[in-house]
């Protein structure tokens, strides 16, 4: 016998359905707003001049964002090159070798690193890292792409360590036992058996790190000098995120300048969507493994 639903139940179910769909609504809102506000400037400037123009100077009405795109790519790549090996090796150590006590302390420390606000990283970078780079490399100013890369590398460490650890801990014990029984030492087993078995999860960790690095704004705005130059390792640079963050508050409402900043955000959003798709791909593959 099918229970008859009374109208109150139906209304309540409807309310919950709406609450459930709110997230979908938010994603649509963000996407639609970014597209609507990002398109006009691209139309006016021209897609090619916008994406591949080398000069950004709003006083001359020049809006080329190639420097920002390249800086974001180089900065993220640099952070990955520095951050991934350290994070990955730390994760192997914590997942396979560390004693429970060391592991507990390190895990607490890593969550703490993840919880530190990005402006605090920016501040420490500004006071410690930037002067140190100026001294060591004998530069007029230490605010540079290099400083931003180091700050980003530190900031992506927690995500890389946590996600890689989860993947490494999920490797079936039998795989490792078989390798050990065949005469491999523990370290050989971890790197030649456990790591390949966890490769999808580790790839997901790297992609997550890429997402974090490309989306970060406030920490790197404080250490990167913020001049819209083509990227140089020791030059003052501006990222996609910091371009939006640094000029948004000064741009006049409705001006081409402001609209161009919306278009920068749209480009950033497209990058993020690509990275999300890659992340989903790797996470799904890890589940299937």
């Amino acid at each position: 016998m099918k229970k008859l639903k009374n109208p109150t139940e139906k209304i309540i179910e409807g309310i919950f359905l709406i609450l459930g769909l709110i997230t979908v609504g938010f994603v649509l809102l963000i996407t639609v707003y970014l597209i609507i506000s990002g398109i006009p400037a691209i139309r006016e400037i021209g897609l090619f001049d916008f994406l591949f123009g080398k000069t950004w100077d709003y006083s001359k009405n020049l809006y080329g964002i190639l420097p920002f795109i390249l800086t974001s790519i180089y900065g993220t790549a640099g952070a990955i090159i520095l951050g991934v090996p350290v994070g990955f090796l730390t994760a192997v150590y914590l997942a396979k070798i560390a004693s429970p006590r060391v592991k507990f302390f390190m895990e607490t420390a890593v969550s703490l690193l993840a919880g530190i606000p990005s402006v605090v990283y920016g501040l420490v970078g500004m006071i410690v890292l930037v002067p140190a780079i100026r001294e060591v490399f004998d530069l007029p100013d230490g605010s540079s792409l290099f400083a931003a890369i180091i700050v980003l590398a530190v900031m992506i460490l927690p995500s890389i360590i946590k996600v890689s650890m989860t993947a490494l801990e999920a490797v079936p014990k039998e795989y490792e036992d078989a390798s050990l029984a065949l005469g491999a030492t523990p370290i050989e087993t971890y790197f030649k058996v456990s790591v390949p078995a966890a490769k999808s999860g580790i790839a997901a960790a790297v992609v997550l790190g890429v997402g974090r690095a490309i989306g970060e704004a406030m920490a790197i705005i404080m250490v990167s000098g913020n001049a819209p130059n083509m990227p140089e390792l020791f030059g003052s640079v501006r990222f996609l995120t910091t371009a939006v963050a640094s000029e948004m508050n000064y741009a006049t409402d409705g001006s081409l300048h402001q609209q161009a900043l919306f278009s920068v955000a749209l480009v950033l959003f497209l990058f993020i969507m690509l990275i999300n798709a890659a992340l989903n791909f790797f996470l799904k593959r890890e589940k299937e493994d």
């Binding site: 963000i30 990005s118 406030m218």
Partner: protein, 282 residues
């Protein structure tokens, strides 16, 4: 064992220890450095006054209050939404496509960088809904950012409510809504508390999204007056004092306060999750 194997093993071992030591060293350095630079600059005067151009003194009381207001406003809005969405997913949803869409949306939301939230918040809440630069516009932006977190923690706690409880209630003749009210909602408590702690942590650390939506005024306001006026939270204030005004002593004082709060939140999250695990095991 060949020499090559021995070298490989020794090198890998050394690299691993080095990396772990580097990570641990970074955490220790951040904590000790920020505390050492910040704590000497925290004075009662700094904590209890508002900044004044006349006396050229800086006080961060307005920023502390703005942070508290924005945390309260965000949580009040995000918790019902997040809990409602989680209940829909675990108790009602039968259509797999809707579930997949909601889950995909919540994953997408957690990957979007905060500058983009700030920008959309500016366009939608400040301009379209004409809230202007205000704490409420900032709080609404943070609601979108934190919704996936609250949803996920609530969903996880709902999964631990035994199916037999629900069946028992249905068996006694309770309707769906009655079951949710009496059996499901009490099971949300763990998730809501964890979600609150994680959200507070995220709100405290947020700067980019608030910069465009909540502005950066430092005036002292009451709660309701504060919500409708522009105001900076501690993180935004830190950014301004460090980047725009070169007041590094104040910036480090705020950084030390934020660091202590981060430590507290981390331990609270840890303690709460352990407490709930223990209770579930009983």
């Amino acid at each position: 064992m060949t020499a090559k194997r021995k070298i490989y093993i020794a090198a890998m071992r050394a690299l691993m220890y080095l990396s772990a030591a580097l990570t641990a060293g970074l955490v220790l350095f951040m904590i000790i450095y920020v505390m050492a630079k910040g704590i000497p600059n925290i004075t009662w005067e700094l904590l209890s006054s508002e900044p004044s151009y006349l006396t050229e003194k800086i006080g961060i009381l307005p920023d502390i209050l703005n942070t508290v207001y924005i945390v309260i406003a965000t949580l009040i809005i995000v918790i019902p939404l997040g809990v409602g969405a989680a209940i829909y997913l675990t108790e009602y949803a039968r259509n797999k496509k809707i579930v997949a869409a909601i889950e995909y949306a919540s994953e997408t939301l957690s990957g979007i960088p905060s500058v983009i939230y700030g920008l959309v918040g500016l366009l939608f809440f400040c301009q379209f809904m004409s809230f202007g630069r205000s704490l409420i516009a900032g709080a609404l932006t943070l609601v979108i950012m934190n919704l996936p977190t609250v949803m996920r923690t609530t969903q996880e706690s709902l999964k631990t409510v035994p199916q037999s409880y629900r069946e028992g209630a249905f068996g006694l003749g309770a309707g769906k809504w009655r079951v949710i009210l009496t059996v499901v909602l009490p099971g949300c408590v763990d998730g809501v508390i964890t979600g609150c702690i994680l959200s507070i942590g995220r709100i405290l650390g947020e700067s980019a999204a608030l910069l465009f939506t909540a502005g950066f005024a430092h005036s002292l306001n009451g709660f309701f007056e504060g919500l409708t006026s522009s105001g900076s939270t501690l993180t935004v204030a830190l950014y301004f004092y460090a980047k725009e005004q070169g007041e590094f002593e104040v910036a480090f004082a705020i950084a030390a306060i934020l660091m202590v709060l981060t430590l507290i939140i981390n331990f609270a999250a840890e303690a709460v999750s352990r407490y709930f695990e223990k209770r579930r095991a009983l």
